[in-house]
Amino acid sequence: MPYNSIEKAAAAYDVVVIGSGLGGLTSANRLARAGHRVLLLEHHHRLGGLATWFKRQGHIFDVSLHGFPYGMRKTCRKYWNRAIMDSIIQLKNIVFDNPQFHLTTTFDKNDFSEILETRFQVPRSRILDFFNTVDGMNFYDDRSMTTRELFETFFPGRSDVHRLLMEPITYANGSNLDDPAITYGIVFSNFMNKGVFTFSGGTDRLIGMMTEELENNGVTICTRSLVKRIVIDNGKVRGVEVDGRFIAAKTVVSNAGILNTVEDLAGIDAFSEEFRESLKPVVVNNSSCQVYMGVKEGETIEDIGDLLFTSSSPQFDAEEMLDRNTKSRTFSLYYPKTRPGHDRYTIVASMNARYEDWASLSSEEYSREKQLMIERCLIHLEQYLPGIRDKCDWLEAATPKTFQRYTLHTRGTSFGTKFEGLEVSRNIFKDVKGLFHVGSVGIIMSGWLGAINYGVIVANDADAYLRS
């Protein structure tokens, strides 16, 4: 069992990992397996970071389990264990409903090619060319081309096709048509590989299995342990300060946001002029709003699909999607099949959101706006599930302020930073010896798969340092 305070931690470790998001958990696991002594610290009472859940009146709500790419299977087998891999199952019914089209898809290359050819009348050769182009994209490729330019090259003037291709990715990582085409290509190809997958048993089961694996590998875990400061001396990491205690460490891997890590935990003075310059163009991504709906025990709802991308906005519009009054939202439906043995239905509506729009409200306005958002979601959902309002016995909303409170991330960012954050994150240890950053950055390193893979990449850097 993880300790629920810093008290039991030893005085010194090879590695301290700050934060237990999927990136932090994975770095901790890799480094422990490589033979290092690892301490994992989390300020919340629960591990997982954004990969989290909460319980209300018998309902279990998953916060970020809407879908991830097939690549999670291989990644979980290699960096966690086979049992975790074996719990990854496909979500087969992905629904789009908007004024431009209504369709159901398995969200993979074959089905998308079929849909683009028959429904959208795009020539087969064009579709093939497009897939070949995005499949071949690498993060070190030229990034001057935007996603808009990519779409215009292959599907000029086709706002309907652009919407089909972009909208799910905008929900998945907050990117839009102005972001580099390579970030789009990498993430989209990951999904198109085999479709959308989920974790059978829910986030609580996954994090439970990961916790067990970490403990088997000898990681010391302390929750309710807020790191106040990373102690740096002469350009080198010495340890961390937690609850008045100093814990010595040869390396620190921070899973706090990149800006939190540099500005709040390490302190900007620890970095070179050059590094500070490179930080300037780093932009944190948008945050999210969610509405959680719990269906009464004994009630059932019809299977209307697993993931519904719905909008009554005339065209894809990333700004519209961020608006507090957006008409665009995804509905994730959790049927009893998602959590075998737990006979409940829950629905989570997710929207992209701006931190400022919510942080600027007075507390009365804030409560009212949350209520109005719940209301809008219910009205929207009634179109697909008539009578849903009366079937629910739990309704609750989360806003960017909620995400900020639980993760401490700058402006409650849901998906780390835009592209520029990746290089800064990768270079941090070149500026302060022994200091590493892991966690959503650069669009491509976000999402469950991105965060876990990035955890492996950073663990490799930290291991190289520890053995040098």
């Binding site: 290699k78 663990a459 490799n460 190289a464 053995r467």
Partner: protein, 83 residues
């Protein structure tokens, strides 16, 4: 280690990474990536394992040297001669 031993180590590490990898008729001069469905993460695993076993540090710039079995052996032989 000699060439043959290095070759065996590489194959053993690949097999650890992917139990299902069919290494029986691998062409040693062709890219591993194309024959075994290895991705960049798999190469990172090889690098990390070599470091763990032999304290060998392979800089990122040298990763392309690990492309085929032959190039792996050529790159590693002088570096592992005392291991």
């Amino acid at each position: 280690m000699n060439k043959e031993e290095i070759r065996d180590v590489i194959l053993e590490i690949i097999q650890d990474i992917d139990e299902d990898a069919d290494i029986s008729d691998l062409q040693s001069d062709l890219p591993l990536r194309d024959q075994l469905d290895l991705d960049s993460m798999d190469f990172l695993d090889i690098v990390m394992e070599l470091r763990k076993r032999y304290k060998l540090q392979i800089p990122e710039a040298d990763y392309p040297e690990l492309a085929s079995l032959d190039s792996c052996v050529a790159y590693l032989e002088p570096r592992l001669k005392d291991s």
